[in-house]
């Protein structure tokens, strides 16, 4: 289970708090959605779970399977099954996507005490997962995310998720920049990874994604706090009324 308690976060060297006391619990086997307007702290939450530098946790805790995530470096978190699908995947010129995938898979396998995959086994695995996500072989040969379209980048993120087999998946605005076909393919990819051993946190601005990835719970994040939680119908309500209905005053 992912447990976040009274999490307060600010950007290093800045006074303004971005997360102002988040409490959240995502049990294994469940998919929770975090919805909220721009600037509500959604991406910050995903970065802090994954361990990005530049954020200062001033109070509170994040544990995964009872282990304190905040004490671990990003790679150690990845080894323990944490995965962040980036909103803006980073370009690394000169590093072929395939090389990157293999390096990542073997780094994680090694850290988990599993045997590293040889080339043949790895290629078989990639081919199978890539096909399901409509990722072309040609794309795997190109530099990581270099010159990829928005849709290709997001598919590549989900492909990494499928290969690394994380147990805690955080998807940060995976729907942004996707046309309707790509959205369907990506969502299917995510849905096939749903399972009793896996917890997912789906962060999105729009309800649209949640038609495809149907959440068990929906939380509304506003100005650094979760102002409301509910079932999947909450997302639909939000779509009708807009975030304005969920002002700070009303939540109190």
């Amino acid at each position: 289970m992912l447990e976040i308690k009274n999490l307060h976060v600010r950007v290093e060297d800045e006074d303004t708090e971005i997360l102002r006391g988040i409490d959240l619990a995502v049990p294994k086997g469940e998919v929770h959605a975090i919805m909220g307007p721009n600037g509500s702290g959604k991406s910050t939450l995903s970065y802090v779970i994954a361990g990005k530098d530049g954020y200062e946790v001033t109070d509170g805790s994040i544990t995964w399977d009872g282990e304190d995530l905040l004490a671990l470096s990003p790679d150690e978190r990845a080894a323990r099954g944490v995965f962040l699908a980036f909103q803006y995947p980073v370009e690394i010129p000169g590093v072929a996507t395939l090389t990157f995938l293999r390096t990542a898979v073997n780094a994680v396998r090694k850290a988990r005490g599993e045997k590293e995959l040889n080339t043949a086994d790895f290629m078989r695995l990639v081919r199978e997962k890539a096909e399901a996500l409509g990722v072309k072989q040609d794309m795997l040969k190109r530099g990581l995310n270099v010159g990829f379209s928005g849709g290709e980048k997001k598919r590549n993120e989900i492909l990494q998720m499928a290969l690394l087999e994380p147990t805690l998946c955080v998807l940060d605005e995976t729907d942004s920049g996707l046309d309707i076909d790509a959205l369907r393919i990506v969502s299917e990819g995510v849905n096939t990874l749903r399972g009793p051993e896996r917890a997912m946190l789906v962060i999105t601005h729009y309800q649209r994604l949640l038609n495809y990835i149907v959440p068990d719970r929906v939380h509304v994040l506003q100005e650094g706090r979760i102002v409301r939680s509910g079932g999947k119908e909450l997302a639909e309500e939000l779509e009708r009324t807009g975030y304005a209905e969920f002002g700070e005053g009303k939540a109190a």
Binding site: R77, V95, A104
Partner: protein, 489 residues
């Protein structure tokens, strides 16, 4: 073989003072006294059993050297070198090394382990006393060296130590030695010409494609080349040769000053590919004790349609001063320079190339990737020039610098001269930093920080890596990671 009588006389005449510094006739431990003089040069020449013309050549170089001053234009800083406080000759079996691996810098041993170097070879690289003998035995029992030599002889390729070539192939040596890098070319080239220890000599006859990559590795058991290496490679008409110099393993050396000279000559339609991996000891964390590497490398595309290609990976040495160049004399000849220069700690690199376009329709290509980390300084310095007759000369230059951390520096100093209106030169340069975002992305996928840096840098240098011979590529990728250890965080 005995030294020429004249030299023996010279040696006898040396002062008693010099004698007490170990100037003995015992062949195993012999060492010239400190400092440079005509006597020392005569001694070196006699030790090598050189013919008269070679000695005269050395002495002439020495006379010229005496009138020259050290170049100071490079972006490197080091205390003034006292050239009379150095040894210019020590016999192959030197007795200055550590007694066993226990006495060797543990950091160095850790690196050997990471590169997967066998124990016996580690001893040789670390300069452990007596280790060379052991490895000789290992090598000699392996038939690969013998097979290698037989194959070359069948093709008519000459590949031997320079000292042997001076004795066995005097015509070729006299014709080509100093014809690309003249004795008085520069201060260090003149010094090398006067005192050069040994190096490789390669001659590939007309129309012969050398059947295998030639590598200094196969020469390791023959002779320690020492600090003043001299290499001469000649590809006769239509010949092809690929030469590999160096080793990915960091090489420990007691000699702080290295001043090598490499000359390449390509005749009509010939091609020479010269690859270097330089990983001399860079010094300790403060940069103390590292090698000063002042090298002159130059290729002469003497014939029509000839081609010379330099590929270098520079990761070692405290100071690197090195500009492998091409003189594009023959019409339609082509020069290439692919370079990866990595500096970390307190290393200083000033490296680049010169492409001198003399002939018509000559072309050249420069791809330079500089990576600076730690407190290091990394300079690309290059010259592209087209002379009046070099109509239709073309050059493309790309210089990319990558910075890791905020204590290092990168400089790019390109000189471009076109003396005719029909030359076409392009120059592109970029400077970038490894971004926090790239690092975080890799780490979020399970790579630790060092693996992440190594991966990103390997991507950055990819255009150059692919020009390395296959057997060097994988090793070099590993080496890049090791060179940058501790550069972040």
């Amino acid at each position: 073989m005995a030294a020429v009588p004249e030299t023996v006389e010279q040696v006898k005449d040396l002062s008693v003072d010099q004698y007490k510094y170990g100037f003995t006739t015992d062949i195993e431990t012999v060492k010239a006294p400190k400092g440079l003089s005509e006597e020392v040069i005569r001694f070196i020449s006699a030790k090598k059993d050189e013919p008269e013309w070679m000695l005269a050549w050395r002495l002439d170089a020495y006379e010229r050297w005496k009138t020259m001053t050290e170049p100071r234009w490079a972006c490197v800083h080091y205390p003034k070198i006292d050239f009379q406080d150095l040894y210019y000759y020590s016999a192959p079996k030197s007795t200055q090394g550590p007694k066993s691996l226990d006495e060797v810098d543990p950091e160095l041993l850790r690196t050997y382990e990471k590169l997967g170097i066998p124990l016996e070879e580690q001893k040789v690289l670390a300069g452990v006393e007596g280790a060379r003998v052991a490895v000789d035995a290992v090598f000699d029992s392996v038939s690969v060296v013998t097979t290698f030599k037989e194959e070359l002889a069948k093709a008519g390729v000459i590949f031997c130590p320079m000292s042997e070539a001076v004795r066995e192939h005097p015509d070729l040596v006299q014709k080509y030695l100093g014809s690309v890098v003249p004795k008085s070319d520069n201060f260090y080239a003149a010094l090398n010409s006067a005192v050069f220890s040994d190096g490789s000599f390669v001659y590939v006859p007309e129309g012969v494609r050398c059947p295998m990559e030639l590598s200094t590795y196969f020469r390791i058991n023959e002779k320690q080349t020492g600090q003043f290496e001299r290499t001469l490679i000649i590809a006769d008409k239509g010949a092809y040769v690929s030469y590999l110099e160096g080793c990915t393993a960091p090489m420990r050396d007691e000699n702080q000053l290295h001043a090598a000279v490499v000359e390449l000559v390509a005749l009509d339609d010939a091609e020479i590919k010269y690859s270097t991996v330089q990983n001399w000891y860079p010094g300790d964390k403060e940069g103390k004790g590292g090698v000063y590497n002042f090298v002159t490398k130059r290729g002469d595309c003497r014939g029509r349609n000839s081609k010379i290609s330099w590929t270098q990976v520079e990761t070692g040495s405290a100071i690197t001063w090195k500009y492998p160049s091409c003189i594009l004399r023959g019409d339609n000849s082509r020069g290439e320079f692919y370079s990866i220069a990595i500096s970390n700690g307190h290393q200083q690199v000033d490296s680049g190339t010169k492409m001198i376009h003399l002939g018509r329709g000559t072309s050249s290509r420069i791809i330079s990737k500089g990576i600076s980390a730690g407190h290091s300084s990394n300079t690309y310095r290059g010259l592209v020039s087209a002379h009046r007759k070099a109509v239709g000369a073309r050059n493309f230059t790309q210089c990319d610098s990558l910075l890791i951390g905020d204590q290092c520096s990168a400089h790019t100093v390109p000189y471009i001269e076109a003396k005719n209106a029909h030359a076409h030169f392009e120059h592109e340069a970029t400077t970038s930093k490894i971004s926090e975002d790239q690092l975080f992305y890799c780490m979020a996928r399970g790579l630790d920080e060092e693996a992440a840096v190594a991966l990103i840098v390997n991507g950055f240098v990819r255009d150059v890596l692919q020009h390395l011979p296959m057997e060097f590529m994988a090793e070099t990728q590993k080496l890049i990671g090791i060179s940058l250890e501790g550069s972040v965080g």
